[in-house]
């Protein structure tokens, strides 16, 4: 018998609300399988299990908010007899006594909350959540979002909808904040089938004109995101002795290469300069591992791969920096769709747990409409942040001593002086500049 606990959801999150179980007691599960969807301040996140086994009991009901470390479910190891079960208290998804009954246990839940990545600014465990009405399985509490708005959809629900060819714009979300869950997708699919319209998914035809999510949830999320940013950034400025370096990088070659590459591509397969810059950072990091990793318990732990956190601004305000995995290994043609997908899901509020915790460095790109340079704040426990400003035309002296007009970008490095020094940081930026002079090798 083992316990499956709510894992860490990132440095700035210490609790989550269970949105949905994707398994039932008795189900066999496999390592890496997504078994639950948990809502956090920032997004609905898929939670994977890290061992094989059979689900014995589900200990937390959808709608309950619990601290990191809380037992969510119990598991039998493969081959273990079912007899050794604890009293099956919350064994079914059927309505149970409301959350108030569980609040005390949530409060006294394991206080290993502030683990490696845990927010050190918080107390050992957050105050009890008095009421988070669990109640019966949620019904569509929120009207469907008007077509055209970014939808909040759990990753599992999104995959299922894609598999069914279902347009989610007409689907009412019953999760917190109006998020569309797997149950909602199943319901919508059933009703689309029932109406048996040959003209395609019927769900999209029934779009009431209404607020996307009534009342407080959106505002709450705003507030929570703001609080999460405040917590992480305050910790960064309190604990991390930053140093900053800037380098002006000529971009003519990268621009020419990109224009040529894109000329032969349909618009849906075109590359953005941001993808080239990310790849260049990932490759440059290979020679400067002291910029890629985590500072935990007074020690630097280098990361095994370049999982780059992308600072993605949210349209309604705020910012999330989920990880794009293994950027150093992705060819540009794979990196670009992965980047587009991550941006889209971040803004839809639908991320995987690994994306919330794996980033080993952050890249912020203030883009082609933004400012010329940015000096970033490191996201703890990471130890570096690379910033790109806008590409601008500048007078430039070429190798032969002639004057020309050159598109340039200012790249910056903010790094943790406990782990690296300016000399090596400068060499990293020089390597980054070199990488961008050979775009064909990215």
């Amino acid at each position: 018998m083992s316990e499956f606990r709510l894992p860490s959801l990132g440095a700035d999150m210490d609790a989550g609300t269970l949105l949905q179980w994707l398994v039932q007691p008795g189900d066999t599960v496999h390592k890496g399988q997504v078994i639950a969807v948990v809502d956090t301040a920032k997004a609905a996140i898929d939670i994977e299990i890290w061992q094989d086994g059979t689900v014995q009991t589900l200990q937390v009901q959808p709608g309950e908010k619990v601290p990191v470390g809380t037992v969510l479910a119990t598991l039998r190891a493969p081959g273990e007899a079912a007899g050794a079960a604890p009293p099956p208290q919350a064994a079914q998804l059927a309505p149970v006594p409301p959350a108030t009954a569980r609040a005390p246990s949530a409060a006294s839940a394991p206080s290993a909350v502030s683990g490696a990545a845990g927010g050190a600014t918080q107390g050992p465990s957050p105050p009890p959540q008095p009421t988070f009405a669990a109640g019966p399985p949620p019904l569509p509490a929120h009207p469907a979002a008007p077509s055209g708005l970014r939808l909040r959809v759990s990753p599992a629900a999104r995959r299922q909808a894609e598999a069914l060819g279902l347009d989610l714009h007409g689907v009412a979300g019953s999760g917190p904040g109006g998020a569309i869950t797997l149950t909602d997708v199943a319901r919508a699919a059933a009703s689309a089938l029932a109406s048996a319209s040959p003209a395609g998914p019927a769900a999209s035809a029934t779009v009431p004109v209404a607020e996307p999510t009534p009342g407080t949830p959106a505002t709450d999320r705003q507030t929570e995101i703001r609080r999460a940013i405040a917590s992480a950034m305050s910790r960064s400025k309190r604990e991390i002795p930053h140093y900053y370096l800037l380098e002006t990088i000529p971009m003519a070659r990268a621009q020419q290469w990109l224009a040529q590459a894109n000329a032969g591509r349909p618009i849906t397969a075109r590359l953005l300069m941001a993808a080239l810059q990310l790849k260049a950072v990932a490759l440059a990091l290979k020679r400067y591992p002291e910029l890629n990793g985590f500072f935990i318990d007074g020690q630097f732990q280098p990361a095994s791969a370049a999982h780059i956190g992308l600072a993605i601004s949210l349209r309604q305000g705020g910012l999330i920096a989920p990880a794009l995995h293994n950027v150093d290994q992705l060819p540009l043609d794979a990196l670009m769709p992965a980047l587009a997908d991550l941006v889209q899901r971040t803004r839809a509020g639908s991320l995987r747990r690994t994306e919330m915790v794996d980033a080993s460095i952050t890249v912020t790109n203030l883009g082609d409409q933004g400012v010329e340079s940015v000096l970033g704040v490191i996201h703890p426990p990471q130890v570096a942040l690379v910033g790109f400003g806008r590409i601008t035309q500048r007078p430039w002296v070429d190798a032969a001593g002639g004057l020309c007009v050159m598109p340039v970008v200012t790249a910056s490095l903010a790094a943790d002086h406990r782990v690296s020094d300016g000399h090596r940081g400068g060499l990293f930026l020089a390597e980054l500049r070199e990488q961008l002079q050979h775009p064909e090798e990215l």
């Binding site: 000329a263 849906t268 349209r315």
Partner: protein
């Protein structure tokens, strides 16, 4: 859709609808057609690409990257699309 002649109002409506699918907060009546669009609407390079993908799919018009430089204002965009559709 590709064969139906679009009048200016229809074309504008399509452009605005596509824009709103990227940036839901856009209020069409506040947009100035003759001012740079991306100074009025916060579109990063990914948003801009998705906006043009949306237009090319809705209107069945190819928009080569080499033409992006011409597409500064909403009016530029509509003139460009009208020429391509005509």
């Amino acid at each position: 859709m590709a064969h139906a002649p679009l009048n200016d109002a229809d074309l504008r409506a399509t452009v605005i609808a596509t824009l709103q699918s990227i940036a839901p907060e856009v209020e069409p009546e506040l947009l100035r057609d003759s001012r740079p669009l991306r100074l009025q609407v916060d579109l990063d390079s990914m948003d801009w690409l998705n906006f043009l993908i949306g237009l090319s799919e809705r209107l069945k018009v190819a928009i080569p990257e080499s033409d992006y430089g011409q597409l500064v204002t909403l009016q530029d965009l509509m003139d460009y699309l009208k020429a391509r559709l005509g």
